[in-house]
Symmetry: C2
Subunit: 492 residues, 2 copies
């Protein structure tokens, strides 16, 4: 990995869940995205010669038949034909289901497909999620996000229906009706992948759901699990680092309560603009720890942050913390609150969490953070205030299930891989145990968020390579069984 800066680029794609979920009961002010945005490099791989871009005329609302539901928008998808064995031999189709970002980010970050498709003779497809990138209804992003009347169509069920239509269209165009489709997704995209297999088994033979916290809804997963995992990562890395961070909050509060205290804090953290409140600073710091933990691998961000804290020789605890900020961000003119317009990911995901993707994540006692329990009522009221409509916090489990997931799916579903790195705080809401012979949990002790889908590298630890190979072997197994079944079926 060339540099932290370059590597941080990869983070952007899987970040957004933490952005708002870590808001702990408030509508999250974006943090991680602001931190990382400045590292966003020009894309290298996107739209290379192997990639062909298409637009599908997509129905705005699949579940309503009002005239306005028939409005359409152009949904972008990209196909790489390079390895494709063809529809005549029913060669497989691997489809990356986009999540809350532009398609370019998937192309840049998800290396799993390119690294492995040659051996499967697979067609590679990336589909952009509605409302992100160029797949925006109502003419422009500004119009699409104008208000709840326009954003109402941005939700997972509509997105899955989009994918269904495009996958069916591609198979039809390529005369590949019996080509098995494997859907792949990361984080929210991983949830979509697993849900797609459950809801559209006729269109996807299997799903690889990387770091998909499908169980972080309602009360299935303890609200405080997310921040407990982060705390554990830091504490296992360095007890003194953990203690320093833990103590830092009250020091900040203590400064803030003094006259001129915010000025002093602004100066100590070399902020781009004077701080308006202590929470402005605290949120940004919290975000650094969340991101460092969630994306620890392969740049070992927690080590880096803790090393800065531990190695900075001073009695001033805030100077230690500032060293961590610099270690995380690199050398900048200023820190903490740079003038950053909200990214499309942040804008879109804020809406999604305030409509259906309500993940009740709060900070419990006994973490290195200040306690901040998730309060559903506060959350709902904040959403109403912001958008004029309330979230539907139980709909995800009503529509996709979640309670007694193991019990129910062992007899029902099949062909899903839930992959997780246990250092990833979202793994708390992931499926970490095998559900059945064909619904598998593949976990790594040290892995971080979506690490298995990153492009492979010579520096990859052995356990990561092993994780990927297990996933590939499982997918291979699905395909072998599928082709045998298909043969038997076609013989009648």
């Amino acid at each position: 990995m060339d540099s932290l800066v370059e590597w941080l680029l990869f983070l952007v794609v899987f970040l957004s869940i933490s952005i708002s979920s870590s808001s702990a009961g408030r509508i999250g002010i974006p943090r991680g995205a602001a931190v990382l945005k400045k590292h966003h490099l020009p894309l290298k791989r996107a739209f290379s010669g192997d990639l062909h871009t298409y637009f599908y005329t997509q129905t705005l609302d699949h579940f309503n038949y009002k005239p306005e539901s028939y409005a359409t928008f152009q949904q972008r998808y990209v196909i790489n034909y390079k390895y494709w064995g063809g529809g005549a031999v029913s060669a497989p189709i691997f489809v990356c289901l986009g999540a809350e970002q532009a398609l370019e980010t998937d192309l840049q970050t998800i290396g799993f497909l390119d690294d492995n498709d040659a051996r499967f003779n697979a067609l590679i497809v990336y589909i952009e999620h509605r409302y992100y990138g160029k797949s925006v209804p109502f003419g422009s992003r500004e119009e699409a996000f104008r208000n709840a009347y326009r954003m109402g169509y941005l939700n997972s069920a509509q997105a899955l229906a989009d994918y269904a239509e495009i996958i069916a269209d591609i198979k039809n165009n390529l005369q590949a009706s019996h080509s098995p489709v494997i859907v792949i997704g990361a984080s929210y995209g991983g949830m979509l992948a697993s849900w797609f297999r459950l809801k559209y088994p006729h269109l996807a033979l299997g799903a690889l759901a990387s770091s998909a916290p499908v169980l972080y809804f309602d009360n299935i997963t303890p609200s405080d699990a997310f921040y407990s995992i982060i705390t554990k990562s830091f504490r296992e890395t360095s007890e003194s680092c953990y203690q320093t961070i833990r103590r830092s909050w009250s020091v900040i509060d203590s400064y803030a309560s003094q006259p001129w205290g915010l000025s002093v804090l602004s100066s100590k953290f070399r902020t781009c603009y004077p701080l308006n409140s202590a929470s402005e600073l605290k949120k940004e710091l919290e975000s650094i720890y969340v991101v460092a933990s969630q994306f620890n691998q392969p740049a070992y961000l927690v080590n880096r942050v803790c090393a800065a804290i531990d190695e900075t020789q001073t009695d001033d605890i805030l100077f230690k913390i500032f060293a961590a900020v610099v270690a995380f961000n690199g050398n900048n003119r200023c820190y903490i609150n740079p003038p950053n317009p909200e990214s499309q990911t942040v804008t879109g995901w804020k809406w999604q969490t305030c409509s259906e993707m309500v993940m009740p994540i709060g900070v419990g006692e006994n973490t290195m953070f200040q306690p901040n329990p998730f309060d559903l009522n506060t959350f709902i009221n904040d959403c109403i205030r912001t958008y004029g409509v309330a979230p539907r916090p139980h709909w995800i489990t009503s529509y996709y299930g979640g309670n007694d997931f193991n019990f129910i799916l062992q007899k029902f579903g099949s062909n899903i891989i839930f992959s997780n790195g246990l250092r990833d705080p979202f793994s708390a809401g992931g499926v970490l145990e095998h559900i059945s012979k064909s619904i598998r949990a593949v976990t790594t002790t040290y892995g971080s968020h979506c690490l298995d889908l990153f492009p492979k590298s010579d520096n990859d630890p052995e356990w990561l390579t092993k994780q990927r190979n297990i996933e590939l072997r499982i997918i291979k197994g699905w395909l072998v069984t599928y082709y045998a079944d298909l043969k038997a079926f076609q013989k009648g």
Copy 2:
């Protein structure tokens, strides 16, 4: 069975598919409903002491988050607690998923639940389908059906989501979180039941889908199969009856082409109002044959109709046909075109077929009817003319599957019974072969539409009792396995 008139009451519930689907490429003018409406007797069983009525505040649009999607309506459901073993022992819950009619009709016609629930200690629930009966949004039926803006929310995906919410709510209220739910439905309701099991396996352990033509979409089932089965029924009942019907159409046409011909036809068929066209008469006759065939059992309507035709001694072929009309309808003051307002079932189902439930049924060559192939373009244009929006004829198979149904579901789904009577023309689009060990086809050679769900009677033929017992045994098997699994699951 007391009388034909009383029995015909039962027909109303499962009729509507034939009404519009037999329209053969046009938007169907209701026929069967008009014929049967006058036989609609006061309901006997509805709202007896065992039945408790409730209303659930239902979300208008489950798949959109626009402010108007949050509108609610009161959805009616009924519970019979009489046999219920209780949530503490996880006693089962049998849920009848209403289709395109008022709940009263289900209560009257579906005897399967009452006949058998005692032995299961089951809770019995009937849920009314949105837009029918009392479960109407926008304040009144008239408002709800005012235009496509209002009707857009009437579709199967929204209906399934309604059922999901109500089932979850009932289980929650009764503290019956581990009570297995079996969903049951007839005709369109049968489709909903099977789809519910596929889409919401976390809420329903299994489904009994009676006479559910889930494969009569797109080009999965030959367009002409429906009328071929009717023709076969008539021909096997009586060759001369079949020949008479077959020849009658051109006789009618020949009259209609003469001056005063329509007057003569009006007189011969003792119509309530003078006929405006030959097709007015022909549609009504066609409807009689469709209904007689679809609901042949247990009143042996085809026999009755054919006996009238065969036993009426005359050279006037139309007099024979008129005898069939009388045999079918009973003695009335007039026939064919009585002044009948359209029923809610007809109004609602016309919209449903013009939005998503596009069943391409046409009359092929070599039937006893005049050929009238299904033409999708004509159908679409008729829908646009009527409602201002086009149907989405491929959406059902995109959302629920259908192509290669056997192949796909053998590895994926479980716990569905597809029951069919092969004399029922809709059986052409039914699942007639076992898909897997737990997705079973239960068919009877002589059965008609949804016969297995009718209340049992001492006159039931042995094969019908056998069919019901097979279904009960399968459901029993699901429950036995479920309780064993649950026990193992709870032990950890």
